[in-house]
Subunit: 399 residues, 2 copies
């Protein structure tokens, strides 16, 4: 456990009401921290899709942890080994905690390729089968601050012995078990015994089960996990599911949701403002109605869920926005909303201009970030119920 | 000619050696200017492809004139008319002179659709046939500072009478005539009689003829045009062709070349440094050899020229850059070169990350801009021959 400096300080824990706190001691010097509930910055090859580091830095604050994915990186192992200085420097990143996950939550990957001794990831060139030795060699070349263990119960012993090679790197153990409660509990108990810094809750992603079952599984599993280590839920990003999962005991999420919304030409406009001061209300009451008018949404259990529009967004490709000269979201202070109208975004999208993605990504990232701030504020002020009603109301009205 | 405030001040004119000067009195207040030889900022729907206005502003200087294209805009006429404030505001542009051309030089468009009374443009929804009335209504909705006349000799009379509707807008007349010298001279003489602010040299684009014929046609045509009005050459952007065309009497170019280079995953690295001070040399001698190694280049007459790699660039998709940890161009101060290496760009390209386009576009735009500065400096210092040898040497070596 040498070099394991990550420390979770919880300021508020209430059963069924989530955990509020700060993950401290992050980064090479231990000076960085991450508020929980929170999310990791989702990247492809170290970059937030569509955005340069410069554009990204125009957003006021961002998560201090950047998630990269082995599936993107595995095929470049040779180059990284030659480069020697690790992926952070290779990708021109600075001042961020680097977390290396196995799979990209925004890219569906085939199941059933994990054996007792290997795990498979999918890069642009197809499947790459990773043995423990290859996995550890890759992590050595990547040099992350944290990484997701490839090990389940079976491969853990081998993995542990190799782990000593990576001094100072924190490992997140994986809790598996599909939708079988007993298997989940067994996996949680086993993984809790390991010298890990945190836990990845795997196999609970959007589309694989409904939220009721997910909440139930998470609630039971987190009871088996030590209080003082963070729990990262993989593959869940929808605001309604985030809220429910936080209540069940999740601390961290993968931040891929704004990217998915952007890729389908949509903008997040859901309301998370629970201020009673009307001057602070971000959205007009009339604005709220708007989402309800969109026909497509997903409330149902559907394996293709992730590519479907949710009720938290509007589809700028829709002809109705052709002559709409308002910003994406009235009152939003992001670069896109300060400079452009929906009509312009609509025209960029219908003419396939890449700038559409850049502008939507700026707005969606800013809005999602603000949602997590509002979530933590609500927990601190004991108004989570109010926030939940506000956000979930925007789904249920349509089911 | 009311409202026609554009003024070309030439500081140096030498037959066969080009014209050096400044185009003054631009913009609503007449405070903007553009150095010639120069180029117009190429945009799609008002935005430089891949870049936000914010990212764009990280480039130290840019042309003060932005080119937009009717073919992109024609299908949005209704919305612009409803918007009322013109395209500049619609696209969130500021402080730029807006020049509205007919066709996008980076998008090939079918020929043979121009009649005596109409001209056709191609938007995302296919061909749009513009009558003079529709054309003028569109310009009224777009509200550019300059626009390219749709008129050739035949339709000019009608156009002129409509022109009075657009007070203060400058019109560029079009010189046509294909590759027939007599037709070119006739068109130049006719257009020179019109109340235009400048001239578009049409039908001479890369791929339609070789540079020797283009140079010959331009040299003869420009003799027929008044000295004090700018000449814009359409569809030519390659550095070697720019140099030859400037010598023949061209002042302005369409700035689409950096975009084309970016779209094929390439980076401009050609050397235009003619300083004898070795400390100022941008490129190492060895660097020069590099381009020569690329197999693909275009020196031949080929209608597909525009999509082919030239000898002024390197193809970052090439496997040779996989482990190349140098910046795109040693000594370049652009955002991309300061922060990233060729190997990273290579990996972004092979994994189809959109950021590749953003980063390449930043570098290519910066490099192209610097090339035009070097061109003007060389003209001022009477070292154009040296610059030509430097730049053309990078082509000829490979033919």
């Amino acid at each position: 456990m040498a070099g394991c400096r990550m420390k979770l300080e919880l300021s508020r824990v209430a059963l069924g009401k989530g955990r509020l706190g700060v993950l401290k001691g992050l980064g090479k010097t231990g000076q960085l921290s991450l508020e929980v509930p929170g999310y990791l910055l989702h990247t492809h090859l170290g970059t937030v899709p569509h955005l340069t580091q410069d554009t990204l830095s125009t957003l006021s604050t961002l998560p201090s942890v950047t998630q990269i994915t082995l599936s993107n990186i595995a095929e470049h192992q040779e180059v990284l080994e030659e480069f020697k200085d690790g992926f952070r420097k290779f990708a021109g990143l600075h001042d961020t905690v680097l977390y290396c996950a196995l799979h990209d939550p925004a890219t569906p990957c085939p199941t059933g390729h994990t054996t007792n001794k290997t795990v498979s990831v999918w890069g642009s060139g197809g499947r790459i089968e990773l043995t423990v030795a290859k996995f550890m060699a890759l992590q050595k070349a990547v040099k992350p601050d944290w990484y997701q263990s490839m090990a389940d119960g079976e491969t853990w012993q081998i993995n542990t012995s190799h782990k000593r090679e990576l001094e100072g790197v924190e490992v997140f153990g994986v809790v598996e078990g599909g939708d079988i409660l007993e298997e989940r509990v067994r996996s949680a108990k086993e993984t809790a015994k390991r010298p890990v810094s945190g836990f990845c809750l795997d196999g609970l992603q959007t589309g694989s089960m409904d939220q009721a079952l997910r909440t139930q599984l998470i609630s039971v599993v987190t009871k088996e996990l030590p209080e003082d280590k963070p729990r990262l839920l993989q593959g869940v990003g929808r605001p309604d599911e985030v809220l429910e999962s936080v209540e069940a005991g999740v601390d961290l999420f993968e931040g891929f949701f704004p990217f998915e919304v952007t890729e389908r030409g949509c903008a997040l406009i859901f309301n998370f403002n629970i201020s009673s001061n009307p001057e602070l209300a971000v959205l007009e009451p009339g604005e709220d109605q708007e989402t309800a008018g969109d026909s497509q949404h997903s409330g149902d259990l559907n394996p293709d869920d992730q590519t479907q529009m949710t009720s938290f967004e509007i589809n700028l490709k829709d002809k109705r926005y052709q002559g709409d000269f308002r910003p994406l979201l009235e009152g939003c202070g992001c670069y896109c909303c300060r400079n452009h109208q929906r009509a312009y975004l609509h025209h960029l999208l219908v003419t396939n201009e890449l700038l559409a993605g850049v502008l939507l990504m700026i707005h969606n990232t800013a809005h999602y970030h603000a949602f997590f701030s509002a979530l933590r504020d609500a927990m601190a002020e004991d108004t989570l119920d109010l926030l939940k009603r506000r956000v979930l109301g925007q789904t249920e009205r349509k089911d």
